[in-house]
C-alpha cells in the first residue's frame, strides 16, 4: 500500500490538462456532428453540444471569435463542421472542444453564405420596397435575359405575343449554369443598358436548384440592382428564392407568370376602351340633361321674372338719359350758336363779292377756275369775267 501514489483531484486534473494540452494530435482538428442546445451565454460565449448517433462532446465558441453572427446562422439540428482544439477545465474536470471556426456541412455552407449575403445586402438597403421601380403598364420594348435554348424564352415569347402584340421583344441570351454563367449573365445585363427598354425580364432556363446558384452571386445581384430599367425576375422556386428575385422590382415564380405580369391582355384593353367610351357618352348625356333641366326651370319661372326686371331697369335708365340728354343738348346748341355768330363775321369778310363790290373783277375759265397769270390766259379759248353785278363770256378772236 505504501507504494501507492495518491493524487488529489487537483493533481489529477492538472495531469490530464498537461496531457491534453501537449497532445498535438488533438490540436486544431476538424470534427463533424449535429448541433444541440445551441445558445449564447450572458458573457457572449456560445455553449452547446455536438453529437452523433453514439456520442457527444461539449463545445464552446468564445465571443472573441467573431467570424460569423452565430445566432443568426445556426440552429439546433444543423450538421456542423467545426475546427478547434480540446481543452480541459480543471475546476469542472470537463473536456470541452473549443471552436475557432464553424460552418454548415455540404449545401448547408452554401445556404449559410447565401443567408449572410442576404443579411448584408438587406442592411445596405438593396431590398427596400421604396427603391423598387414601378412596372410599366404598357411596355413597348421588353428585354429578356435567359438561355437562348431553354423553355423560358419560349414561354415568355408565346405569352407576350398572344397577349400584347404591340411589344417588341429583345433577347439577350446568357448561360445560366456552369463556370462561365456568372460573367455571361453580367455581360448580358450590362448590354441591356445600350437599349431603350421599358422593362427587363430575367428568367432561368428551368433545371435543378444547382442551376440557380449564379443568381445568388453578389456581383450578379449588384449588377441587377444598378439597372434603371424595371426588372421582373422569374428565377427562384416558391420556397427558395434567389437573391436576384429579392432585388428585382417584381418577382414571380415562372416565366409564364413573368409574361402575364409584364403586359396587359389586348382583349381586356379593348373591353376597357369600349366601357370607357360608354362612360364618356353617359357623362356627356348627363351633363346635357343637367343643362336642359336648368333651361326648363329658367323658362318657367326665373327667366321671365328676370326679363321684366331688366326691362324695368332699362326703362328707368332711358328716362334718366333723356333728362341728361335734353339739358346737355340745350347747352350744346347755345354754344354752337355763339360760335356760328362769331364765325359769320369772319366768313363775311372773306366773301369775294365784297371785293367785286369795291370795283375789282375776277377772270375765270369756263370751268370756273380763277385765272391768275398771263400764260394761263393765253392758253384758253374762252373766259368769263365776273364783276359786281354779274359775269360775261368772251371768246378769243381768231
Amino acid at each position: 500500500m505504501n507504494d501507492k501514489v495518491i493524487y488529489s483531484i487537483s493533481e489529477l486534473n492538472h495531469i490530464i490538462k498537461t496531457i491534453i494540452d501537449s497532445e498535438i494530435s488533438i490540436k486544431n482538428i476538424v470534427i463533424t456532428g449535429e448541433l444541440q442546445n445551441f445558445k449564447k451565454s450572458q458573457n457572449g460565449h456560445y455553449f452547446f453540444r455536438l453529437i452523433d448517433k453514439d456520442s457527444q462532446i461539449n463545445c464552446v465558441i468564445y465571443s472573441y471569435f467573431d467570424f460569423y453572427n452565430y445566432e443568426f446562422s445556426f440552429k439546433d439540428g444543423d450538421s456542423i463542421e467545426a475546427q478547434g482544439s480540446l481543452i480541459f477545465f480543471n475546476k469542472r474536470g470537463e473536456i470541452v472542444f473549443s471552436i475557432n471556426r464553424m460552418t454548415l456541412c455540404g449545401d448547408g455552407e452554401k445556404l449559410l453564405r447565401k443567408k449572410l449575403l442576404i443579411q448584408k445586402l438587406f442592411n445596405e438597403g438593396l431590398f427596400d420596397q421604396n427603391k423598387k421601380l414601378n412596372i410599366p403598364k404598357y411596355p413597348r420594348n421588353i428585354g429578356i435575359i435567359t438561355s437562348k435554348t431553354g423553355a423560358a424564352i419560349k414561354d415568355i415569347e408565346k405569352n407576350i405575343n398572344s397577349r400584347y402584340k404591340i411589344s417588341q421583344l429583345y433577347l439577350f441570351p446568357t448561360l445560366v449554369q456552369g463556370i462561365e454563367a456568372k460573367s455571361s449573365i453580367i455581360n448580358a445585363i450590362k448590354k441591356t443598358k445600350e437599349y431603350d427598354l421599358d422593362l427587363l425580364i430575367i428568367g432561368r432556363g428551368g433545371g435543378s436548384k444547382e442551376d440557380l446558384s449564379v443568381f445568388d452571386e453578389e456581383e450578379v445581384v449588384r449588377t441587377v440592382y444598378s439597372l434603371n430599367t424595371p426588372v421582373i425576375s422569374a428565377i427562384g422556386h416558391e420556397i427558395d428564392k434567389s437573391i436576384v428575385d429579392l432585388v428585382a422590382d417584381l418577382s414571380v415564380s415562372t416565366p409564364t407568370a413573368a409574361a402575364i405580369s409584364a403586359v396587359p391582355d389586348e382583349n381586356d384593353l379593348l373591353e376597357f376602351l369600349d366601357i370607357s367610351y360608354n362612360q364618356l357618352r353617359s357623362a356627356l348625356n348627363s351633363k346635357l340633361s343637367v343643362y336642359k333641366k336648368e333651361i326648363d326651370s329658367i323658362e318657367s319661372t326665373r327667366f321671365f321674372d328676370g326679363i321684366n326686371n331688366i326691362i324695368e331697369s332699362i326703362n328707368n335708365k332711358i328716362e334718366n338719359c333723356e333728362y341728361l340728354l335734353l339739358n346737355n343738348y340745350k347747352n350744346t346748341i347755345n354754344l354752337l350758336k355763339n360760335t356760328i355768330i362769331s364765325k359769320e363775321g369772319l366768313i363775311e369778310s372773306l366773301n369775294p363779292q365784297n371785293t367785286l363790290n369795291r370795283g375789282y373783277s375776277i377772270i375765270t375759265d369756263t370751268n370756273g377756275s380763277i385765272i391768275k397769270s398771263i400764260s394761263v390766259l393765253n392758253s384758253v379759248e374762252q373766259i368769263n369775267i365776273h364783276v359786281s353785278d354779274g359775269k360775261t363770256n368772251f371768246r378769243r378772236k381768231l
Binding site: Y138, R140, K148, E157, S167, L169, F172, Y277, A283
Partner: protein
C-alpha cells in the same frame, strides 16, 4: 404620344369628365378628346402585328 401616354391621358379624362363642376363646353371637349384617344388606341391594338424577337448577342 406613346400608347402608354394615351392610356394615361384617357384615364385622366375618365376621372375628370365626371366632375359635376365642369362647364358644358369643357365636358364636350373632354368627350371629344377621349373619343379620339379611344379610336386611336383601338386602332393601334387591332393593327399591331406580331413581331419577331430581336436577338442581341
Amino acid at each position: 404620344m406613346t400608347f402608354e401616354e394615351k392610356m394615361k391621358r384617357l384615364n385622366e379624362i375618365m376621372e375628370l369628365i365626371n366632375n359635376s363642376e365642369l362647364s358644358l363646353e369643357e365636358t364636350i371637349n373632354f368627350y371629344e378628346e377621349g373619343k379620339k384617344l379611344i379610336i386611336e388606341l383601338k386602332s393601334e391594338i387591332k393593327n399591331a402585328e406580331q413581331r419577331i424577337t430581336k436577338i442581341i448577342e
